[in-house]
Symmetry: C2
């Protein structure tokens, strides 16, 4: 179906299919969406690095996409995924590990300095 | 905590607290966030109407905000809510009622023409 991209991008809510936990928000362009649908693994557009990015290509924390849903205005996607390991680069399972006061709600699963090159 | 707004806005993923269903994606500015925290009911920034909007003010389908979470980069919010009635203006409980092929996954709960003035 026709999607409504803004400046070539569409936000993607990523939800763990097994637990229904919301893991992250990312952005896709039409190429990232095509790669996701062809491979079955989530690909996004990195706004900071300005390039396509396969989720987990460095950390191994891949996202297998079980289902793609579209919202009423066709301007947001919902990926329901199988998340290997942690979704968040901080080592937390979900990127939403804090409340609005900054209090941590969940523990880290890994130390980022051991997983990502040139970080930490 | 300090949030990272883009052009004054931050995306808000809205999830039903009881069921963990993802209901919608909306946008907030600092004023909408303040009104949400003060009132306990979700307020957003309407990009199409360029104004603050209290969710459900017309339809009665209010969202009581149980918890606000922040992601790792502090550039996305997650509202966990109690949703009265349907979240979607189409009458579906969630805005994500279709798959990427356009197939409807869930039934409508109401007829929009009976709920919204000047529509339908």
């Amino acid at each position: 179906m026709d999607l409504n991209y803004t400046h070539g991008l569409i936000p993607v809510i990523v939800q763990e299919a097994e637990t229904d936990e919301v893991l992250m928000l990312a952005w896709a362009n039409d190429e990232a969406l095509r790669l996701t649908r062809e491979s079955g693994f989530a690909h996004y557009w990195s706004r900071s690095r300005q390039k396509i990015w396969k989720k987990g290509e460095e950390s191994g924390n891949l996202q297998r996409v079980i289902e793609i849903r579209v919202d009423c205005d066709a301007d947001t996607l919902l990926y329901r995924v199988e998340q290997r390991g942690a979704a968040c680069h901080t080592g937390h399972h979900s990127c939403f590990y804090r409340d609005i006061e900054g209090r941590e709600l969940t523990a880290r699963l890994f130390d980022p300095s051991e997983v990502y090159a040139n970080k930490g």
